[in-house]
Symmetry: C2
């Protein structure tokens, strides 16, 4: 039946192990513009043959060539601008198109984020009940609209839980079970819909997308990954996935959504549509806008893009990213999805300074965060690998349904897991004020000593103790369920679950320290600053520090993490605790395993990503890495003016290399240039079709002046225009650390190796990555793409 | 006499046109450590001969070599760490030494900044009077200590102006003249002392230091520029210069002071002392700490270092810079020099949101800022060039005294120029509250409509009109005097004067708009948001936006500028006006002249600085830039195994190149490697002295296996160890844009040019810079150093 077919369908089997199959027809929008390039800019760009200078899917771009092409374009426009007013206007509009694009990216990303926030809010509440004043109101809005007075803030007569609606009352065991049942059913419906949509329409919409975006930004091509279908499906399924109550967040996927916006909007501008390097500048800025709207932290977003995601990040991009991030943040704020005019996701205001001794618990939280991060990465990667290699991966829909069911069944009974994770974090960060009615703020009241806004430290009431137990259970549940959730075939972010784990741990520790200080304020360590009746411990701050520590442990973010957290509180005061926890967490996690979760997933999927943070520290040389190896046959080369079309075609068909060095002669092995396989095939095909006298015995000539031939011979095929006359070369003695550095900084695809001026071999990006993997005792065959 | 000698002394004649004369003996501490390297680390580093691998003064470092050396060191330590516990401990301490160093840099920079703040505050007040309760109190502290009540905040009986002290009363024309006289005399004394100290002890202490630090960070060596004497003298003279009332700030020089701290503290750690590249990482972080303490903006400081100052800024450095900046900021705050527990220099809190239409005046301020920035840069550079090329430069002391006298004489009568510039900016940024007694807040009172903390818009009183006139005069004075001040032989920063100009202009515009809105609230543009009795215009915000615009116009900072300003107000709300002004200002200024003030000074002084922000956009190729030119004699090369010591010595003495390519043979011109002049000279000298059998006819051999020689011939000098076997090469057809990119990204000193595998020529960093200057229609001979 249908269900069976859905469950067994192995069309795309694994989360993000993108198989080099093309996505469904019509979905490819990634590089569409470059191919059917019949725009008005045609005359500006030297594109003698369609296809020459473009890339195939799942291949690495040549940064040097792309940047050169953009400079040529720019030069052309600048030169023409002196000729006519029209050209001048064109030049000015060209200069400002980057800013316009940033504005559009910010507006679109901000609007989509607002839409997602509002929908997710409404659908999350739908699991619990419905608003009689209008089904499109969520719980909070419903009670705002209410005119009647009611005691509890969120209990208004207009809002009906499912049991109230169906049974007419909300009390008793049966009503509870009915609500429970509806909660699970809604969750299952949402997640089923999400996984079916992802599976059926946009396989790339799953996961957080950050590992793939990192890879794309480093110069890889995955057609359709940032296309319009991915955008539409990801936006819808993200809402569904978040609403289903799974242990995942919307922050990571928002980066993917923003990058899709950036990529799609690139099509409006020839400058960005046709150039892979320029497009990646836009994507870097879009990633910043994504984080900016996710947390309401524009500066943090820019630093996140700089630190975590981007590869090529010139200063111009920094400024533009900042602009895009600001526009996105202000768009989101004018949509006002939280209804409180706040820009930030978790607004907190602490009043009390912290004491130097509190650094000890903060560092403990850092250690916890580091341990959790390392544990999570190992377990999650092990589980994902299992999914990839066993039959488990064949049933993505079933997997999602099972995990959703377990999550929903476990979550409902516990108040802190039933609420959405963002709400939970908000509540944990919150410092108890006088008016707070939350269970976490049920302290034994002592109204005599209350003065001002700050409550003094007090003995915890029964509510706090209950909350502690529930939080401890929530912690255990979140820790385990997140491992199985991240990597399923639905959009899933890690920021919020990580922060939740840390916030719970932090709050628990914070309350413990607070109670310790209250009951033992005579102890030497407390006596200096925790006199009775004073407010000296802020458990909310501990929650925040814990959240930062866990997020740091999982992602290994540093500066951006601290800045995002700083933007939430707005007080420089609390940077030091955050920094202490983030540093400890990173050190502890790094000591156990060097990779963050995104790098681990990149490696799991075998993407060709050259990490910029890690220094290559082995003492190998270029000759150890280059092809051919000593025992292999000599390097396949093309001579500059002696080979015929036939010879070259034989070389091309007998090898699979993506390019061939051109030399003066086989004997001298003196390098002239480098020609790409793709360009060679296209040019020869084209010449055979359109150029008179080109036959199999025609000589191919790469030199400026071709040698004179006997009059009877067929005409010469001149291919100097497709020859790269400035291939990068290194000597065979060059240390690999320098070679890695060159590949990384210049964004090369390949590099030729010479010895005393003679061509000896070639090193490709894949060779470099394989070598790095080998040196790190990893399987070099895990690098799948070139 | 003495005065004459002082005035005529031309020992160092120009501000920062550092002549390649060594600084006074004993002052060189820049690279001292590397030379007399007899530390415990000796055995780890391959240093066969003292001097090999070090650099001469005013030369460019080779980033690739430095980074390789550090990796070798690191590898060595890591390998040894497995051998013994002691080595393991050493490895751990080595890993943490970077963090320790950052901590120390932060502590020292913060302490020095606090010291400078306190001293400058006291000495500035000394120009006006003295505290009877203790001469070491400044005006504000003096009045805090006072027990008696007094009407005006800053008029307490303990504080005596000079006329009160000398005449016994402060009223009347004579008292005024006496105060005036004392003000000018103190100013002259301070500036005389400052210029004499700079002249006599540390010529490098003058100016802001940022252009030189940029150059040093890009890989240039200026011995003593960051030495201990520069630190001591710069700290002292900075206080003197600021106190003298000259139109200069302490913020730029604080960056220099922090970098000196960083450089000096590097000497504590072998890792940083011996490696120029690692040392520059520390300096980048120190620059961040400098800005952090200058403005109390740690995040802004890090971004300033990233955007404006640094060249090689790996992500690791970002995180460490952030740490150093935070430590420095908190050290400064615990010293609490402003006595208000505020971290930031200008603390402002605005309450009113801004209206979208106000973007028009904000953009006008941006245009003003851009125009002023471009005007200032042109005039200042023209004046500095004049000073450099005419007799004017021969009398630095006289120049300082004249400018000080003019400044002091013009400044005293005007209240807004008499106060220190920081105080002025503070007052301009300030939003008028109920209790403000400043003249700028003398509005016509209308107590009926006053509600809450915010005052409604009111008609300006006479005080405001007086203030407007005085501010206009102050603006004119500041605009002109700053041009002549920046570049004199005293420490002088530009941030504060630029901000003052902008803040005055902004406040003037703000008050104008405010009064316009008050009197014409029925106009269509105001009717929507400026109803009578409402507080709709914040003149302080205009001052802040103006300050940002002018600072942006002069320095061309973007992100860091906005973030620094954001950190002052703490409200994301006001980022949009700041950004609009900063963007406009940069565009306007860039349209007039591409260079910021620091880049202009770098070019004025002919430093070899390869700008990372500007793209090279001309269509030249490597063959157009390389030496030798077509008409020149062939490239000087050394053969790998046929030249004698005599031959090589002849080549070395007949040329001045800093290095020579080594080829297989003159006929084939196939490249083997590159050898540095300095290494060659040292090695040959050493071999002649210490190695038996090395005479003038000895053959020098750079190969692994030297060819067998007849038994009678002298022994062979093997120099493979000093040969760089992996010189960078490009082909002659390589576009210069790629060559520039390689030089910039890899930090090369030279690059060899080949054609079809044959060595053809060489391009040095100086050649590249000269070519860039030539293409920009500038004098290529202005590039002085290699």
């Amino acid at each position: 039946g249908l269900v069976n077919r859905l469950f067994n369908d192995g069309f795309f089997c694994l989360k993000c192990s993108i198989s080099p199959l093309p996505p469904p027809a019509g979905f490819s929008s990634y590089n569409g513009g470059g191919m059917n390039g019949t725009s008005t800019m045609m005359d500006f760009l030297e594109e003698p043959l369609p296809g020459v200078g473009t890339y195939e899917d799942f291949n690495t771009i040549d940064w040097v060539r792309e940047k050169s092409r953009d400079r040529d374009r720019h030069r052309e426009i600048t030169n023409r601008s002196k000729e006519s007013t029209w050209a001048l206007l064109h030049s000015v509009s060209d200069a400002f198109s980057g800013w316009l694009l940033m504005l559009l990216v910010g507006l679109l990303a901000g609007s989509l984020a607002g839409l997602i926030d509002i929908s997710a809010h409404w659908m999350t509440d739908l699991k619990e009940g419905v608003c009689l004043a209008g089904f499109w109101f969520n719980h909070e809005h419903c009670c705002w609209k209410s005119n009647t007075t009611f005691t509890d803030r969120d209990k208004c007569p207009e809002w009906k839980s499912w049991s109230q609606l169906i049974l007419g009352h909300g009390e008793g065991a049966f009503a509870y079970i009915l609500n429970y049942f509806m909660y699970v059913i809604w969750a299952l419906m949402f997640s089923l819909l999400a996984v079916l949509l992802v599976k059926g329409f946009a396989p790339y919409a799953c996961g957080s997308g950050i590992p793939e975006i990192k890879t794309i930004l480093s110069g890889f091509i995955i057609r359709g990954y940032l296309g319009k279908w991915t955008l539409v499906i990801k936006t819808i399924t993200l809402v569904l996935a978040v609403s289903s109550g799974l242990s995942l967040g919307k922050e990571g996927p928002l980066v993917h959504v923003a990058c899709c916006c950036g990529n799609i909007l690139c099509h409006l501008f020839t400058k960005y549509r046709k150039n892979e390097a320029k497009r990646r500048e836009v994507l870097s800025a879009a990633a910043a806008a994504g984080v900016s709207v996710a947390f309401g932290a524009p500066i943090g977003g820019v630093l996140f893009s700089l630190e975590e995601v981007s590869y090529y990040f010139p200063l111009k991009t920094l400024w533009r990213s900042f602009f895009a991030a600001l526009v996105a943040a202000f768009t989101l704020r004018s949509i006002n999805p939280f209804g409180n005019s706040r820009l930030v996701l978790f607004y907190v205001e602490f009043h009390m300074p912290w004491h130097l001794l509190e650094l000890v618990p903060f560092i403990l939280l850092g250690i916890f965060g580091g341990l959790w991060g390392a544990f999570f990465i190992r377990s999650n990667i092990a589980w994902c690998r299992r999914r990839k290699t066993t039959r488990l991966g064949k049933y993505p829909v079933l997997e999602v349904l099972v995990v959703t069911a377990i999550t929903a069944i476990l979550a409902f009974p516990n108040e802190y897991t039933r609420m959405s994770t963002s709400e939970l974090i908000s509540e944990l960060f919150n410092d108890c004020g006088i008016l707070d009615s939350s269970k976490l703020c049920e302290y034994v009241n002592d109204f005599n000593s209350t003065k001002g806004d700050d409550l003094p430290d007090r003995a915890a009431g029964p509510g706090v103790y209950t909350a502690m137990w529930q939080l401890a259970l929530a912690l255990i549940m979140k820790v385990f369920i997140t491992i199985f959730t991240f990597g399923m075939k639905v959009p899933s972010g890690l920021f919020i679950p990580s922060m939740a784990v840390g916030a719970i741990a932090g709050r628990l520790l914070g309350v413990a320290v607070e109670q310790l200080a209250f009951y033992h304020h005579d102890w030497a360590i407390f006596s200096g600053w925790c006199s009775p009746g004073a407010d000296c411990i802020t458990p909310g701050l501990y929650a925040m520090v814990g959240a930062a520590a866990c997020l740091g442990g999982v992602t290994r973010m540093t500066v951006s993490l601290v800045v995002i957290m700083f933007e939430l509180t707005g007080g420089l005061e609390y940077i030091v605790p955050l920094m202490a926890a983030a540093m400890t967490s990173k050190w502890v996690a790094d000591a156990i395993g060097r990779e963050g979760i995104y790098d681990a997933h990149i490696r799991l999927n075998g993407y060709p990503f050259l990490e910029a943070k890690e220094e290559f520290s082995h003492k190998t040389r270029a000759m150890d890495v280059m092809r051919p190896r000593k025992s292999d046959p000599a390097l396949t080369v093309i001579t500059q003016d002696t080979m015929t079309v036939e010879d070259v075609e034989a070389i091309v068909s007998s090898t699979t290399y993506s390019g061939y060095p051109v030399v003066v002669s086989r004997a001298s092995q003196r390098l002239v240039g480098f020609v790409l396989r793709r360009d060679l095939i296209i040019s020869i095909e084209n010449a055979r079709k359109k150029q008179d006298g080109i036959v199999s015995t025609s000589v191919i000539c790469f030199t400026d002046y071709c040698p004179p031939l006997p009059p009877s011979s067929p005409s010469v095929l001149k291919l100097r225009s497709i020859l790269d006359l400035s291939p990068f070369t290194v000597t065979d003695e060059t240390p690999m650390e320098i070679v890695v550095d060159i590949f990384r900084k210049l964004g090369l695809r390949q590099c030729l190796v010479t010895h005393n001026g003679k061509l000896l071999g070639i090193i490709t990006k894949k060779d470099v990555l394989k070598h790095i993997a080998q040196m790190a005792n990893q399987d070099p065959e895990s690098i799948l793409f070139n």
